[in-house]
Symmetry: D2
Subunit: 441 residues, 4 copies
Amino acid sequence: MLAVHGSYCHGEDQLIIQGCSGSAQMAEPRDTVVLAYSGGLDTSCILVWLKEQGYTVIAFLANIGQKEDFDAARKKALALGAEKVYIQDVCREFVEEFIWPAVQANALYEDRYLLGTALARPCIARRLVLVAKEQGARYIAHGATGKGNDQVRFELSCYALCPSIKVIAPWRMPEFYQRFPGRRELMEYAQKHGIPVPVTPKAPWSMDENLMHISYEAGILENPKNRAPLDLYTKTCDPATSPDVPDELEIEFEKGVPVKVTNTRNGVTHRSALELFMYLNDIAGKHGVGRIDIVENRFVGMKSRGIYETPAGTILYHAHLDIEAFTMDREVRKIKQGLSLKFSELVYNGFWYSPECEFLQHCIARSQQAVAGTVRVSVFKGQVYVLGRESPHSLYNEELVSMDVQGDYEPADATGFININALRLKEYHRLQSKVSTKQDE
Amino acid sequence: MLAVHGSYCHGEDQLIIQGCSGSAQMAEPRDTVVLAYSGGLDTSCILVWLKEQGYTVIAFLANIGQKEDFDAARKKALALGAEKVYIQDVCREFVEEFIWPAVQANALYEDRYLLGTALARPCIARRLVLVAKEQGARYIAHGATGKGNDQVRFELSCYALCPSIKVIAPWRMPEFYQRFPGRRELMEYAQKHGIPVPVTPKAPWSMDENLMHISYEAGILENPKNRAPLDLYTKTCDPATSPDVPDELEIEFEKGVPVKVTNTRNGVTHRSALELFMYLNDIAGKHGVGRIDIVENRFVGMKSRGIYETPAGTILYHAHLDIEAFTMDREVRKIKQGLSLKFSELVYNGFWYSPECEFLQHCIARSQQAVAGTVRVSVFKGQVYVLGRESPHSLYNEELVSMDVQGDYEPADATGFININALRLKEYHRLQSKVSTKQDE
Amino acid sequence: MLAVHGSYCHGEDQLIIQGCSGSAQMAEPRDTVVLAYSGGLDTSCILVWLKEQGYTVIAFLANIGQKEDFDAARKKALALGAEKVYIQDVCREFVEEFIWPAVQANALYEDRYLLGTALARPCIARRLVLVAKEQGARYIAHGATGKGNDQVRFELSCYALCPSIKVIAPWRMPEFYQRFPGRRELMEYAQKHGIPVPVTPKAPWSMDENLMHISYEAGILENPKNRAPLDLYTKTCDPATSPDVPDELEIEFEKGVPVKVTNTRNGVTHRSALELFMYLNDIAGKHGVGRIDIVENRFVGMKSRGIYETPAGTILYHAHLDIEAFTMDREVRKIKQGLSLKFSELVYNGFWYSPECEFLQHCIARSQQAVAGTVRVSVFKGQVYVLGRESPHSLYNEELVSMDVQGDYEPADATGFININALRLKEYHRLQSKVSTKQDE
Amino acid sequence: MLAVHGSYCHGEDQLIIQGCSGSAQMAEPRDTVVLAYSGGLDTSCILVWLKEQGYTVIAFLANIGQKEDFDAARKKALALGAEKVYIQDVCREFVEEFIWPAVQANALYEDRYLLGTALARPCIARRLVLVAKEQGARYIAHGATGKGNDQVRFELSCYALCPSIKVIAPWRMPEFYQRFPGRRELMEYAQKHGIPVPVTPKAPWSMDENLMHISYEAGILENPKNRAPLDLYTKTCDPATSPDVPDELEIEFEKGVPVKVTNTRNGVTHRSALELFMYLNDIAGKHGVGRIDIVENRFVGMKSRGIYETPAGTILYHAHLDIEAFTMDREVRKIKQGLSLKFSELVYNGFWYSPECEFLQHCIARSQQAVAGTVRVSVFKGQVYVLGRESPHSLYNEELVSMDVQGDYEPADATGFININALRLKEYHRLQSKVSTKQDE
């Protein structure tokens, strides 16, 4: 059994997998590869192709909340010649160790993207590395393309956790991608090697789904002017046909993460991380919450267009923002906001397991110590409306702010405050006038 | 006539009003005050009170898009003893010189507030100063409270534009606020001095409206847990009863500001800044777009709760974000995002006329040179959905990003890119393993 | 005895002094004031003046490393009518709890000032508050001027630690400063009230000294063009006449703070914080290290000119910078650098005891966990030269960087790295060319 | 003749070289390469090796201020078979277009490195590209190693200026570096191909020199503990033996760049950019100013140790910092400081010709509009001491800051200023006390 040092939680300590240093000699068998297997056409072909290249292939499939027939996938992988198949449910750790830190950070890439795919990759990669270590495999393979972010996220995660691992990325290897320049060649290869070919025609775009979100890109979506087809969406209802009555939720936070969700319409309550997150997915999905259509900047330097659905994440983004503003000091918030911007960029770029991301996660978690309380939200027709909030730790002081009560506040102090703040502006005006006068002469 | 040096537009040059240096000797009459008059009970009482104190009062009322009977206000001010009344329509300059820079910046205070009130204050203050200069008045008075942001915004603007001006803020003067501890005393004073008293009962909250937004705060809203009453909103329809059919708009940008709006459902088109902004207000208002309920941090150091409606501003925020992401280089965007955060804070705090805000406005405008193109949005049930975008200046390269075309892109390069990025992470792992191993011994 | 909750050290927890909430009822005697007494003319006059106003005065004098006849000061205060005199040696806590966090941060205000005075103020203020609490005093008084930073630093510290304290700042009270418009009036007052008047003529500038530094400002230094007189300096020798032979030191760090200093020329070694800091002061002073002449921006909005000597602090700044660069990951360092900039500004402005400064101190301390090792420096003729460094935790990898060894490094990877980084630049060129071509047409 | 669009100066417009788009068809001859030739052993061997590979080689050597026998280098290149040799003096443009923007920015990488090499690379690369375009060459080759920063700086510059250029980097090509694993093999190859071999033994470190600085690294310096030999330095005297009398200089700035230098000891004055820079090099070199020994983080992710001499740059860094602080508003300075940090990082990493660097250069230049005046410095024994400064645009107000004059300043305002700033801290204390009290129960 593999020893994992350090805790996974809240960035206190980075995962250190022993015996992974670059120079370490590793155990046989030396030609085993753990393949991040999805059950789809691409990774099925890769599985067979890797065997052709002489590798022993162990298929690994994470259940991270995607819709998938895991049993069928297991059978398929074995049928294609996988030595072993590992299917592991990582949903709980995905929520607790990856989504929660993102909620604490209000993580948002380029002002819009809630990082659904980016958060899933390091969660999967960690498991890939653990399986590789257990099995003494020196190689990890994945089916991510050569132009995207996911290749980076997978590989940086693997290398950071275990520098001696070698990653095989067939879509970047000429011997692979020249052999399979298009989908037709893949299909032919599949038919030739007994790989089951999907019976339904492929959607004219690609998708990637997990518990937090689903992304749609490529194909007809590559033209950024093209409107997404109405039937594209799978995780949220069309707001045009969503219920005409809102759901109202009370979301309770402790240390910046949700610990309880109650639907005030029917009293339904959830407390565990995974359950409450899934429940929020249900409610948000039902009301069409969490759709965006954006152009974003990939780490490799190109702009791409993506359409995303992030139902629960969208509710939590709004609710956390609110409870944080309510309980956190203004200046701490400003500093934390800067850290979160950086954190979001790092997560997007695949640096989850980096010293800087670990550092940021620690600092952000620190900022959340008193982020506690309850936010009431209404979920309706694609929107999340904050209705009110309360907290035992709030820095909001109703008496102080009241227009009807003077309280300890001395209005005359504001005069001095303004005058001193004006000092610098007056000096600047003085100088500008001088310059301006001179120019007029 | 007053000479105003420098252009107002796009931050190229700050407004310099000559003859305003602190030490300058000013013309008589020395006891004239220009009052920022709203027509309401408070500033009416202040008008009379200022006269009681021996000042000659000139009432100034900006038409900045609020619903108001300006003619009645004029008559009222004159009846109360104002020497003169100036009512000036500043709507166009508000849009072009204040809202547009905020659109360019994607200005957002504390991740949520679009700065509707904060942007209006320097627009009004500039006019106040110009009137004071024209009239040879040494004083400016306003009715803002002593706990709020608006006093700061008004006064910093006035002092920055004309350091020799003296501001009278009655709500911070003990002789005033001790005389009028509550609304009852104001009413009594009004009745005694023939000041018309509103016949309708005052709403249990306070409001401030302009072309861009309306704010609701104080009163029953001071308890942050209390839900806003459904009948509070005045600028947007309730999404529950808003139309069941979306409007779709094409918004064209040049240099980061909208230059044309077309409703694709009916072909209605607007091109001038003011008209297109008002049209967006109509459309957004009709569909319930732009409501928020937040707790924010005031510059004076307290948290307050505010409810805002910003219809057109919300559409433009989303549309500009999209066209900017489409046309701006990733790294420029990141730098500009940091500048915008600072810009938003400065605007909120009242530093519109400051060297730093002028500097930021210039830099942000520079970043917008190629932010041009058209965004198509759907406005529906409280939401703005981006549907697509196109631009002659886009950095989006459909061929480069395509999954089906290799283009100039060499997938093998990504391997090197990842490996070099992994170098630092591997080194860190090496060190951590060493430390960890040592600790195990 | 006063209960102090929380540790002082390393920002882990902010000092909370119980029973200080604004609304708390406090014990009699209600008219006792604790005066931050310096023994000089100003605070002696203030002492007598406060008694005139009816206060019971307790004099507090911190020994924070300044040159002072503390015994004489005690006698003087008692002779002038102080009820009690407290003289407390705070040198050790000044080094360990205030200077050390600044060393960890490489704290530097406006790229040059090592914050010597700014760090001392919260150290003194904390003691003032503790004495006030012990003595049941409701007031604290100080002799800082109304234009400077120190008034802000003292008072924000006092209010943050004990909101119910009232601060008396005579130099901001018209009844005081109008009575004493100049030094002559102070002298007259002194003579009248038996306050000993300094026999030596006052230097034509003011000074403030502590263990870390001495500042010179005002008087003839107010003209920023005037060169500082050669005989002004008191903590460092003139580099023109300093020894012609350098001293070489080995400075060992743990967690970002120095834990051992060895003079390799003579083997002298110091390990305790206070002793090693004082020794560094000796060595740096002997070699003329640590003089600067700057114009800085005060928090109240004006520029001022100051001349500072910070001998030990200057050595530690250079040494810490070096060991940090040697042991800290590049990206962590960049984030930490931003935090330190903010930290320095906060310390300068007097916000030591603020939620944001506490947060930053925590984050910065976290970044220092592996900042350990030894730096060798030469101290000579006003300069500190880093000669070399070593560390058990270094991220420096001699084999990796070597030009003579390839190691694990694959040069071809750099090609991919460069090409991918170039992608964005090429896209930008493509667009610029298009625009440029169009403009030519 | 090649048309170059846009100005080179002050970042107003990026250099656009037409006809360089990636997809453009280029003129024959297709196998010509422009080699960045240094005259040394490495690039001489590369020249011959490129010819072996079938390329027509044009040698390009920039005179960027290094000590070099350019005539001998020309002859040598021709003798080795170069088709043509271009030797171009770029000193003036190096100072005006690359060093000056760095002076404006106070550019400093990782708090210490003045970027001497990093600034030279884009200056040279631009010329390389221009020659390649003129000559119709499709290739550029350089002799930079595969582990360093210079390869990145050269190539990103080339690709940004002319995307269709192909770069040949022999030290990253296995067929080259495996053939020449060490210096011995290079020597053998040289002897075999009639390449003149240096008669003096190579220094046990590598050097790179230009007008701004010289760097020493590798060889015996790779051990970061090793002290640099005393005889290593070539651009500055040993402070131990430098003159015992300082030089005093008056440096006049306009728009943030030096426009005049006067030695007040002898009246020597220089006004042109190049001449005054060279004169500052002389003076600084004579007094041993500008030596540093650092460990830095390379862009490729490894730490390296470098020793640098930057004589004139060090004087200008201190002088510019001073005049900037004197003339620039505090808050503008803070924003500009953040931009400069980013600028320095970009320059170090090789992104001179990037949209973000162009943007930053523009913003920084904008901040320098009023950075004008004269700084007096003393240069002595390795140190630069600022003695005083004056400026027609200073925001320093001697009357305002004076301790002896109250001026327009109202001390009572500071009370309000402090109290309002304390508000937030008191609120925080209130909450902490509550929490703390609870925990005690």
